[in-house]
């Protein structure tokens, strides 16, 4: 087993107003999390199309996490409520297809929660690393 060698690839979509700022705060406070996490800035978590998530998996991502403002704190008042429904359904569908449920996550991280951002990323990266490479979505169609 080469679990220790394996480095997962994680894409994090962060909303500009809360979570991206939370990630910046984690940086300001020098809170470590794995370099495997790469952040993409979006104006609001509701900008994250399920298509982006699948695209990331398609191109080899092992985990995708979406971070937005806490419910009730959305800069655009309602964006994260739509995100919550969309992701709940999408995650449930991926699980239904037999894809490991730990590969996707939706988290609420405020601009003040640098520590939560780092902790979340550490935890997520650890869980994804434990799963190993993301094969299932790729293999779903080719019967071995």
């Amino acid at each position: 087993m080469q679990v220790n060698e394996y480095k997962p690839l994680i894409v994090a979509f962060c909303c500009n107003w809360c979570s991206y700022a939370g990630a910046d705060l984690a940086g300001n406070n020098r809170l470590n999390y794995p370099a495997d996490v790469k952040i993409i800035r979006v104006p609001c978590s509701c900008r994250v199309n399920p298509m982006f998530i699948l695209r990331a998996f398609q191109r080899g991502a092992d985990g995708v996490i979406i971070c937005g403002c806490h419910p009730g704190d959305c800069h655009y008042t309602s964006g994260n409520y739509y995100t919550r429904r969309r992701m709940a359904l999408l995650f449930s569908m991926l699980d239904y297809l037999g894809i490991e449920r730990e590969r996707t996550r939706l988290e609420w991280v405020s601009a003040a929660e640098g520590a939560k951002f780092a902790a979340t990323m550490n935890d997520f990266a650890e869980k994804v690393a434990a799963l190993g490479e993301n094969k299932r979505l790729e293999d779903l169609r080719c019967k071995k």
Binding site: L54, M93, Y96, L97, G98, R136, L137, D139, L140, R141
Partner: protein
């Protein structure tokens, strides 16, 4: 066996066409084989008398055709809709996809439609003639001397076995009587899959989806897929793939397609009917419907015109995405 007769439908169509109520009729037309029924626009009474078909293979849902047909036609078009078709009709109206004024809906009661693959499984291939009798279908094939009788209950399509409603939710006129919304077991199959282990689920779907030849029939027939241009045909969408370049794109196609119709899919079952590979695509749609019902309260797309679909709505105390599995596993 359908209770309403072809003659009733034909004379209704002919009289509405002749008295000028409508200018065209959207109905089922003769195809190459007895079981092969083709959606057809009739413009004359003679065409209707000649080619109009009404039998147990008239499964096609015409709601979707109205989007393009009403655009082309100046006057009114008559459309025959079975109960499940009327849900799609309402959903399309909710989405402003055509002008209600340009359509004259005649509701047709439906006793359930036959699934040709179930028929062939019994009789074998080479069907040359079908007689519709009270006892079932009497089928003559090229390879058997004696015609075979198959009972209706053995060949009823899955979506009709689990019929969700015999109620017409939209019509201008009814032939026969409308029924009630039914208690159906349509989610049993979904629940069964949910109860499997992730590995088993994966194996199940791998088995099903690996057969996809990406013919797009499911998309083309789906009354919820009426986009002017599909994201999969659009070079700028970032998801374009007319033919799959790698295996992964297939999954993307089916997941995204199901996601795009989530909350809008009326569960008419056309996708599974037309799939040449018999992939149970309705199980993807029903999964979303079941989740929506469980997470956000029961919702039937198309039951009424103008309702707000669950994915464009929210509650302040909605289920968190992280609690989805807990909620489902606890059931």
């Amino acid at each position: 066996m359908q209770k309403i007769t072809r003659d009733t439908l034909v004379s209704k169509a002919v009289s509405l066409l002749e008295n000028g109520t409508v200018d065209a009729v959207l109905g089922w037309g003769k195809g190459e084989f007895a079981y092969d029924v083709t959606p057809t626009v009739f413009e004359t009474a003679d065409e209707i008398r000649e080619n109009f078909v009404w039998n147990d293979f008239c499964g096609a849902n015409f709601s979707k055709y109205l989007v393009s047909k009403t655009r082309k036609l100046e006057g009114k078009i008559l459309v025959f809709l079975k109960p499940c078709d009327t849900y799609s009709f309402n959903q399309l109206l909710t989405e402003h996809r055509f002008d209600r004024e340009k359509v004259y809906v005649v509701g047709v009661p439906c006793e359930g439609m036959a699934d040709i693959s179930k028929v062939k499984a019994i009789t074998g291939d080479g069907i040359s003639a079908i007689d519709f009798t009270d006892n079932g279908l009497v089928i003559t094939t090229l390879y058997d001397d004696e015609p075979k009788t198959v009972a209706y209950e053995d060949i009823l399509a899955e979506r009709c076995v689990n019929c969700k409603s015999k109620k017409h939710v939209a019509y201008d006129e009814l032939l026969g009587e409308t029924g009630e919304v039914l208690e159906s077991a349509r989610f049993d199959e979904v629940a069964k899959i949910e109860a499997l282990t992730p590995d088993e689920r994966f194996a199940f779907w791998q088995g099903e989806l690996s057969r996809c030849i990406r013919c797009n029939a499911c998309r083309d027939v789906c009354p919820a897929c009426t986009c002017e241009k599909c994201v999969f045909d659009n070079p700028n969408s970032g998801a374009e793939n007319k033919a799959p370049a790698n295996s992964f794109e297939e999954q993307m196609f089916h997941i995204i397609r199901a996601f795009h119709v989530a909350g809008r899919c009326t569960d008419c079952g056309e996708c599974s009917r037309v799939c040449p590979q018999n992939i149970p695509l309705h199980l993807l749609n029903r999964k979303f419907i079941r989740d929506i019902d469980n997470f956000y309260g029961e919702y039937q797309a198309g039951a009424e015109v103008g309702t707000r679909a669950p994915l464009v709505d929210y509650n302040l105390d909605d289920l968190e995405a992280s609690d989805v599995f807990e909620r489902r596993d606890s059931e």
